[in-house]
């Protein structure tokens, strides 16, 4: 294989995988940054969203776009209810949140397993077909994922920097108690942030579902990668998540192209990079040094 074409392959594959991880990691980081909730059920919401799209398209015979819209709405509502019932009461106890959210994710997995069984399902792409960049074939759906990842980042930036809600979110993230003393309804801000976070997870499910295979266990691998991305980028840092996602995406692509016999190790290599970075910079690339309380 010529070196130039291999580099191009790595570049494109890395950008695509990185965009998928970025979409999930940004929304995961958002709720951690604001409410210090490590929501291990985050990718389970993405899994439920994928199944909702399947349900909408094949059982309710909806157009894929309407199916995706419906899934985002349903999963967002479900996420808010879950937050109110399972996370809000215990959010001061981080260990309890960890255990509670993983239990919630497993409950979602088992429910999906009961409803849809373990049979592998799929949904059609929003845009069929592929195009070529210098002889590398790229699905339109992958391009869409890349564009959506960038758009979401831009939209989040606008929301956080240019709006009053964004100011409230940033203030709450900075110091919850002071934000409360300044008259902000910290609980409401957290609830809204949770809604945005879950909606983004659902949107990710909507965009990625056509590129993947639906199974009740499809949330576990992305969760590991998302955790790796946010730890690598710095817990709670949206910019860090974005950069971390692409670093791991490129690491995976390099493994596949350079060591095809070890393609199954791509996840492990990505995680090893995370460990390596943490050894040098424990707070992650863009994270703040861990403190007892912020």
């Amino acid at each position: 294989m010529r070196r130039g074409t291999m580099l191009l392959d790595i570049l494109i594959s890395g950008l695509i995988s990185g965009s998928i991880y970025a979409l999930l990691a940004i929304s995961f980081s958002l709720i951690y940054g604001i409410a210090r909730i490590v929501n291990l059920a985050h990718t389970a919401f993405y899994m439920v969203a994928s199944y909702c799209i399947y349900l909408g398209i094949y059982k309710l015979h909806m157009h894929p776009v309407w199916g995706m819209l419906l899934s985002v709405i349903i999963v967002t509502l479900f996420g808010l209810i879950s937050y109110k019932l399972f996370m809000d009461p215990i959010r001061e106890h981080e260990a309890a949140v960890l255990i509670g959210t993983i239990a919630l994710a497993m409950a979602m997995q088992e429910i999906m397993l009961l409803i849809f069984t373990g049979d592998y399902l799929s949904v059609p792409a929003l845009i069929d077909g592929y195009f070529k960049i210098f002889s590398v074939k790229v699905f339109y759906q992958q391009l869409l994922t890349f564009v959506v990842a960038l758009s979401i980042l831009a939209a989040l930036w606008v929301l956080l920097i240019k709006t009053r809600l964004g100011l409230a979110i940033r203030s709450t993230a900075e110091d919850r108690e002071v934000a409360n003393l300044m008259g902000m309804d910290e609980s409401r801000v957290t609830m809204i942030t949770m809604g945005i976070s879950v909606a983004l997870a659902a949107l990710t499910g909507a965009v990625i579902a056509p590129l993947t295979t639906l199974s009740p266990f499809m949330w576990t691998h992305p969760l590991i990668m998302v955790l790796a991305v946010v730890v690598l980028g710095g817990m709670g840092s949206i910019k860090g998540s974005f950069v971390g996602a692409y670093i791991l995406g490129f690491a995976e692509a390099i493994v596949v192209f350079v060591a095809p016999m070890g393609a199954y190790l791509k996840g492990s290599v990505a995680l090893s990079i995370m460990i390596l970075v943490l050894l040098i910079r424990p707070e992650g690339l863009f994270g703040v040094v861990f403190e007892e309380e912020r």
Binding site: D9, Y120, Y130, T213, F217, P260, Y264
Partner: protein, 438 residues
């Protein structure tokens, strides 16, 4: 406490232990444990095949055991072995200790079946494996017959023969490509999921493909549960492979076929893709799995023996889908266990094993017989080849799964040609023809 009271307690205790230890011997039913990943296609096959067996046997009044008829009772055990091997061993322990089954059929992943096998052997219970292909399962029988003699392979034949059959099918397709497209030397990409049963197959493939006049251009090992293989497919395209030799038993078979179809990768797919054996494959790949070819046991419209059609059509009628090979729990119960029990007149494993290891019988997928190794030791492994089990080569052709192999196959120059009833010609994907046709 009075002496009589103590005696009564001891007597009751002994009776209880005896009752718990030998319930089946005095019972009117034969308990058969069906173990498999019940939430997955493979486990459903195990269970459905066993249900058909139960209906058939009990419909006739049961199995003649000595002077009495005994009906069979199925005990379902979810091994969850795709997710957790420990769940599989726990399930095996449970059906042996709590349900006290007399026989066990099922199992799928070699990693899990090896562990489950040991547990069944501890309890000296006959276990007919209906899913795992690794030779080690049966080599254990030869190496330590006293301990492992209770294990028999029910389906599929071992991975050495699986790969041999795949090579024959690959050579057949390679020859078609050479002839139709004028490709002088077919380049092969080996793509195999990361799983234990695959490892010996890759070594064999790397050694054997050059001997077939083809060239190996690379080996890719994606995760068995990978959901995106577009990077691997890009690398395969760069390798300029004409043929992709797939070895997939898990979910990766779906995204691989789908993405290869969507990207119109100019290479045909031949080998094993267990998901491709399933009716739902077409929908799962959004129709992009067209033209993939896989080894298979059953295909609607193809008859390996006179028993194939009644079994396949009966299964389709009962469950609304074509059976996959794990549904051979039917063969294990109806055609293997039941006649052996009737012949022995007992459920005693020690008396059944000598009968089972020497019997040969016709099944829906071919004639079943058990091999011995080079030293003449029993392996309890399935015989392969013309006259025994050969399996099928099936191909998705415009939404329908068609049998394409064996088609005028000669196992040796002197051997007679074999073509099963219902076999149709192999079709090459149009984009492959377009790319290479001179």
């Amino acid at each position: 406490m009075k002496k009589t009271t103590v005696s009564w307690i001891v007597l009751l205790g002994v009776s209880f232990v005896m009752a718990m230890s030998f319930p089946a011997w005095g019972a009117d039913t034969i308990k058969i444990g069906v173990i498999g990943p019940m939430n997955f296609m493979q486990g459903k096959g195990h269970w459905n095949g066993a249900i058909m067996a139960e209906e058939k046997i009990n419909g006739k009044g049961g199995i003649q055991v000595g002077d009495k008829k005994m009906k069979i009772e199925l005990v379902k055990a979810d091994s969850n072995e795709f997710i957790n091997v420990t769940d599989a061993t726990n399930a095996m322990e449970l059906i042996l200790t709590r349900d006290k089954v007399d026989f066990i059929v099922g199992g799928f992943r070699t990693e899990a079946v090896l562990a489950m096998q040991d547990i069944a052997m501890d309890y000296k219970t006959i276990f007919i494996g209906c899913g795992a292909a690794h030779p080690e399962l049966c080599l254990r029988v030869a190496k330590d017959y006293k301990r492992y003699k209770y294990f028999f392979r029910g389906t599929p034949f071992n991975s050495t023969y699986l790969v041999k059959t795949c090579f024959i099918q690959m050579a057949t397709v390679g020859a078609i490509m050479k002839k139709a497209l004028g490709i002088p030397k077919v380049k092969v990409a080996i793509v195999a999921e990361k799983a234990m049963w695959v490892d010996p197959m890759i070594k064999a493939a790397e050694g054997f493909i050059p001997k077939m006049g083809m060239e190996v251009v690379g080996v890719w090992r994606p995760s068995a549960v990978a959901t995106d293989v577009s990077a691997e497919l890009s690398a395969i395209q760069r390798s300029e492979a004409h043929l992709i030799f797939t070895i997939f038993s898990s979910s990766v078979g779906i995204p691989f076929a789908r993405q290869a179809g969507e990207l119109k990768v100019p290479a045909v797919q031949v080998g094993i893709n267990v998901e491709g054996q399933k009716d739902g494959f077409w929908k799962a790949t959004q129709g992009m799995g067209n033209y993939i070819m896989t080894l298979n046991t059953y295909c609607r419209g193809v008859e390996s023996t006179v028993l194939t059609k009644p079994f396949v059509e009966g299964y389709v009628k009962r469950f609304g889908e074509t059976p996959t090979y794990t549904a051979d729990t039917y063969t294990a119960i109806v055609l293997n266990l039941a006649p052996a029990i009737e012949q022995a007149g007992t459920l005693d494993a020690e008396k059944l094993i000598p009968i089972m290891e020497t019997r040969e019988f016709l099944s829906p997928s071919g004639t079943v017989g058990f091999m011995k190794d080079a030293e003449g030791r029993h392996l309890h492994d399935l015989k392969w080849g013309p006259g025994y089990l050969t399996s099928l080569g099936v191909q998705w052709q415009d939404g329908k799964l068609k049998g394409v192999w064996p088609n005028k196959w000669k196992a040796s120059p002197e051997a007679p040609e074999i073509t099963y009833k219902g076999i149709v010609p192999y079709k090459m994907p149009p984009w492959v023809v377009k790319k290479y046709k001179k």
